[in-house]
Subunit: 339 residues, 2 copies
Amino acid sequence: MKKNDKILLGHGSGGRLSHELIRDLFVKHFSNPTLIKQSDAALLQLGSTHVAMTTDAFVVDPLFFPGGNIGNLAIAGTVNDLSVSGAIPRYLSASFIIEEGLPFEALEQVVITMAEEARKASVEIVTGDTKVVDRGKCDKLFINTTGIGEIRAGAGNIASGDLIKAGDKILVNGFIGDHGMAVMSARNQLHIKAPVESDCACLNGLIDHVFNATGEVHFMRDATRGGVGTVMAEIVASRPWGIQLFEAEIPIRQAVRGICELLGFDPLYVANEGKVVMVVDGAFADKVLQQLKSHPLGQDAAIIGEVVERHPGKTWLQTSIGGNRIVDMPAGEQLPRIC
Amino acid sequence: MKKNDKILLGHGSGGRLSHELIRDLFVKHFSNPTLIKQSDAALLQLGSTHVAMTTDAFVVDPLFFPGGNIGNLAIAGTVNDLSVSGAIPRYLSASFIIEEGLPFEALEQVVITMAEEARKASVEIVTGDTKVVDRGKCDKLFINTTGIGEIRAGAGNIASGDLIKAGDKILVNGFIGDHGMAVMSARNQLHIKAPVESDCACLNGLIDHVFNATGEVHFMRDATRGGVGTVMAEIVASRPWGIQLFEAEIPIRQAVRGICELLGFDPLYVANEGKVVMVVDGAFADKVLQQLKSHPLGQDAAIIGEVVERHPGKTWLQTSIGGNRIVDMPAGEQLPRIC
């Protein structure tokens, strides 16, 4: 970016503009070996303990949507970033920026939701901060949660992608695109007969469930901003292998497909808040799939693709009608403020 | 608070309304033994390591002021909260909420300042997040930093106040009220001949310097929102001892005193961002004072009061003209958005 440029909505989208801002600004100036590794959580050593740390700001609009509110998001987002980095989430901080005039009742509802979600995920909210800004200077409520956890023995390298190899299979634990379309329909007050609910959920229980049965997971990432498509584009970049996805295998609800067609979105790039993409050894893929399916958050899990030797560095999608198209990283945002 | 109440600016002030909101909302619902202890940082165990964790949102207005910008604040605020809790600050997260249209140049200046301040304080920024909200939905830039560090051997109880006893002396490392008045004069474009500069600084070096020479520190807290007066009112509440301050001993710059008189502020309640209040064993107070004075950030340190057996649970200030007045916790804010 140049001096005279201005920040655009797309710089917060998780797509190409976000990556450029991170590279040209934050990584450039904050430069240190931990930050440069760029994954969902930093892997650190404190005393003799291997610790993961991650942070997220939540600015979702509206605060309440079918299936959840900003409070669930703030817990699940951070718990999931720790989990997919190979850590057992333990402690969260919660910091609130509140617009003067917000009804106490709304704030309390969010806080109760956060408390419930934290209890379900067995994490503790141990420290916090509250700032109030004058009316018109923020949009009702923004929340930051930062989480720390202990890195699972032997899982310290799982977020890097370095364990992925040709022949691995790509799995997802259920329907994609629910969260983005739930927020979108709430924001635009679309009157849909069967409203789509957000899939917002803490995935640490599901991930434990898989790890307790098999260690053959080579990579995990939660498919939030930018969706499954962006995760694929991120992990394949500069690798000696490629990814082949099969559109027909990707679980997408009929309602989500319908809203996406109506509004012109590609479900592959729509945000999820309770979906993890796993890359697992091909020989164990069916076992992991069964293990996912035996957990309440993985009942609709599917094998959606594979790691291939052809087209290294690229992700291809075999469409339902048999064609092939490239899955690239989107430049800016499809849907601002969905988390 | 009742269901129909609305959040006021005072709920973010660090005064009585803030304490009530924390007690009636956050502590009530997030309830766990760590959170209930309510200090600047949570003391945790991760594996075999004793860890401190703290979080802060920064919403200062304006972003740039004499002596610093939101970037220094975001580093120093979190480093200092860890330091006064007895921890060695190690790692920070940094999360940004940016208003669409913010000039890249302003953001870069803030990021460069953060990087410099982190380097000076020997902490690493290891993970981050960026959200962009539409124009008019936040005020230019909000930053959250969350920090973790290792607790200094034997210092795990220093933030509780339980070590304080009658006969202890109260010290501060220099002039108070500079930060609040620097922001205030920048915000109101007061044209002052010799502008007051913020005292914003990371205090971990100074605190190390004192701890390396003497272990007789019974309590530390950085006097940010609510100033030295609020720190005193917080630590004395429900204790079997009282605090006596001596106005004539409290270092206040002439310019700060002048602006405070002009605008009707009490410097005792004005925010600082580079000031620590220490309570130390009376027999070692002079030694600690000399140690403070021998560090660049403590040259104007002073003994400003003592812990007394009379008036338990109360702080009294002996005024310069010989009277005595009570130092209570302010209800709401004097100065919103100074950090």
